[in-house]
């Protein structure tokens, strides 16, 4: 059992624990912070599995941009406390049942693959090689992703705009 193996299990434990904490927090700011921790762990995992460029992106985009976006929103809206239970039983039990079912099914399916049980050798894809590969073989997909992001930008702007003026009147008149 090499040092890398030990490192993997430690990181895996960290990710799972942080995610589990994030999922069960009542306070959403806490949840987001735990999730940031989980994403840092994921970034380390990526580094360990030979994808340093992705590790950097994970921190920048996920832990940096996306989570901060969540924080913005949570700060922006002022939530009242919901009445009733934190986890309604009628929803909790089926959710647990389904998740456990998924876990069982995926474990059985994954475990049934015999060639997946041999340990993998460590390897590394340098960012430069990865970049060349990405833009040589997947340039079209990259372009499409950039279009997608543009659409998201416009869409978020349209949705977030406050509606004023005549449209408010039409809304009143609407049945």
């Amino acid at each position: 059992m090499s040092i890398l193996t030990l490192l993997f299990y430690a990181i895996a434990l960290l990710i799972v624990a942080a995610t589990a904490m994030a999922v069960t927090r009542r306070n959403m700011v806490h949840a987001v912070l735990y999730l940031v921790l989980s994403f840092f762990g994921t970034a380390m995992l990526f580094y360990l599995l030979g994808a340093p460029f992705l590790a950097a992106l994970e921190i920048i985009i996920y832990a940096g941009a996306i989570m901060v976006l969540f924080l913005f929103l949570i700060m922006m809206i002022r939530l009242k406390k919901l009445p009733g239970m934190f986890f309604p039983v009628g929803q909790l039990l089926p959710a647990i049942f389904i998740c456990a079912g998924f876990l069982a099914v995926s474990s059985v399916l994954v475990g049934g693959n015999p060639e997946g049980w041999t340990p993998m050798p460590a390897a590394q894809a340098s960012p430069a090689a990865f970049g060349v590969y990405l833009f040589q073989t997947h340039w079209l997909a990259v372009e499409i992703a950039s279009m997608l992001l543009l659409v998201a930008l416009v869409g978020a702007y349209v949705l977030g705009r406050r509606v004023r003026g005549p449209s408010a009147d039409t809304r009143k008149e609407a049945p």
Partner: protein
């Protein structure tokens, strides 16, 4: 030598089911979105592991696109939640449904 592929996949599955639980059980639109992020992240982990296993960069390329999709989804999703919050003063999925039920645009 690191771990076998199956361990990575199991970790990914565990993360995925945590995210699924978050999406299914939390009565809060923001937390549901968060759960979706967790599920996307779990998929990314599985892809990176597979990329290492077969010594191919295809998997890592896919993760780039997952990141792009996640960013898109979060920006649109959060904007939509904001709209809902402005209209109903709540981020409870059930509340939204109930208001829609009552007729027309809440």
């Amino acid at each position: 030598m690191i771990v076998p592929l199956n361990h990575i996949l199991l970790l990914s599955g565990l993360l995925f089911s945590l995210g699924m639980f978050c999406t299914l059980a939390r009565r809060n639109l923001i937390m549901m979105l968060l759960g979706i992020e967790i599920m996307l992240n779990a998929a990314a982990v599985a892809f990176v592991g597979a990329s290492l296993h077969w010594q191919q960069m295809e998997g890592q390329a896919i993760v780039i696109f997952i990141l792009a999709v996640a960013a898109t989804e979060v920006s649109i999703g959060l904007a939509a939640i904001l709209v809902v919050y402005r209209r109903t003063d709540s981020v409870d999925p059930a509340m939204e449904a109930a208001l829609w039920e009552k007729g027309g645009r809440p």
